[in-house]
Symmetry: C2
Subunit: 295 residues, 2 copies
């Protein structure tokens, strides 16, 4: 199969155009029209034998590769709009492998209303390597990691732990609508997504905000069959971690329940002033640090 | 060496901030302020044993990885502003490897006034894999591949061929100022950069513009020691290919010489109406097609 024919086949699986696209794929660069001038950007790699195995379904891998940076957009309350997709695939790949992967990209892009405006197909001397860049816009509101304040409550969406053994790490739904809603709430101060596990990510949020924290371990919402240690250290939950002004928690809790009745929002601890001793965390908490992200 | 310390060391080599950066690296996403709403995007992968060898100097590899997408910006007459850099490196890498690579990135970013706003450091089960995304802005002018018109002259900047054997493919200077100037000239119609070789890229421009072409092979400007076949098929020249309105060529030629006295602009052929027989090209012309770019 010729490369151009393969490319055309893959493009059929992807949303490639909307009114924002001035120059789409096929020229040296893409050009899009932004509605406003605050541009949000995220790039994220998904690598064989790190983020998935050769046995995993390639449409799940495509879904995951796109949903990981979408989860970062959720954590900023931002709106993802355009994707650039780079695939470096083993030379042994057949048409069906490419199609399966493209279907996963297409499903995620359509679900979250993202247009694919470019990318690259390359061959990989090793296994499959995916690199996705998503750009979009932010409202005037933004909840950053560094916005936690002393006495804030620490809260988390959904349940944690067991993402790998349940294969949820391949099929999770990024909390995009939830993150956009939370970022608009004045009393939600800090927000980030849980990709490396609460035990790694909460200390990062605390460091960024120059504060300490206390966790009430028994309150951590665990997936059925998962221990608190697993909820802290398994990682790849893609839930949202937020801090909320203490006295506004009853209001946020009620509004959350009205807007998202099917997803829990659980208070699990509190932000302390800097230089307090933070809660001890299980030793496995930095198991993901071999992939260090710059943002 | 801890990952955080390594990251801080690398960051020292890179321009990370300017007045456009609202949220830089360190949060879930980056946020930048655009001066206008036309957003230009390009993503590009640079892969060991495809685009460079393990023996190449890593600072040259970093330079090349950033300059390849900058060359695409040149081909649109666009202004590159922000970069996201993903590095998947072999687990054997030491601090010195990372530093060398970062120095190459830093040199290219400073030379072309680009701010690095995020990225990712990952480990690669295979060789080194780099994926760079650059975003920026376009003026009201743009020269696309598809803008060639019947009877346009076909011109090329600089000299072609021998990029690999002279190692120029690692140290080339993207024609950014030249591309921005050319895109502003009303009588320069189509433009693209020569990455896969004139023999591959000119037919692409002709297809995009729905026209044919005739090449005057003896006019092709070859690097010393290179044959016309090599100039057509070696690739990685990163020169600009343009088409110019026939009757305006003397004007463009004179203005070009005034603005860029040290770089040649050579007329090498002519655009023909669609369905004419285009000039035959040497058989090696699609040697680079294993890396198929979507834009």
């Amino acid at each position: 199969m010729r490369e151009d024919d393969l490319l055309n086949l893959i493009r059929k699986e992807l949303p490639l155009d909307d009114s924002s696209v001035i120059v789409g794929s096929g020229d040296d660069c893409a050009v899009v029209q932004m509605e406003q001038k605050n541009l949000v950007l995220k790039t994220d790699a998904t690598i064989e034998n790190i983020h998935f195995t050769p046995e995993d379904d390639l449409s799940d891998v495509g879904w995951k590769a796109l949903c990981r940076p979408i989860s970062d957009f959720a954590a900023m309350g931002a709106i993802p709009q355009h994707a650039l997709i780079t695939v470096a695939a083993p030379t042994s790949w057949k048409k069906e492998n490419w199609l399966q992967l493209a279907r996963g990209f297409g499903k995620a892009a359509r679900t979250f209303k993202i247009v694919v405006i470019g990318g690259e197909m390359a061959r990989s001397p090793g296994g499959l390597f995916l690199s996705i860049t998503i750009t979009g816009s932010a409202g005037p509101w933004t909840a950053l990691r560094s916005y936690a304040r002393t006495d804030d409550l620490i809260c988390v969406t959904g349940k944690l732990g067991g993402s790998l053994k349940s294969r949820r790490h391949l099929t999770f739904t990024p909390r995009l609508a939830e993150g956009q809603w939370l970022a608009k709430q004045r009393f939600v101060h800090a927000m980030m997504d849980l990709s490396d596990g609460l035990g790694s990510d909460l200390p990062r949020l605390a460091r960024a905000s120059d504060c300490s924290f206390i966790l009430e371990n028994e309150k951590i919402p665990c997936h059925p069959g998962c221990s608190i240690d697993e909820a802290l250290s398994d990682g790849e939950d893609y839930e949202l971690l937020i801090t909320v002004a203490l006295d506004q928690w009853p209001y946020i809790q009620k509004e959350w329940h009205d807007h998202f009745p099917n997803l829990s929002l659980t208070c699990i601890g509190r932000i302390l002033p800097p230089n307090n001793a933070s809660s001890p965390l299980p030793s496995g908490f930095d198991h993901c640090s071999s992939n260090k992200r710059d943002n």
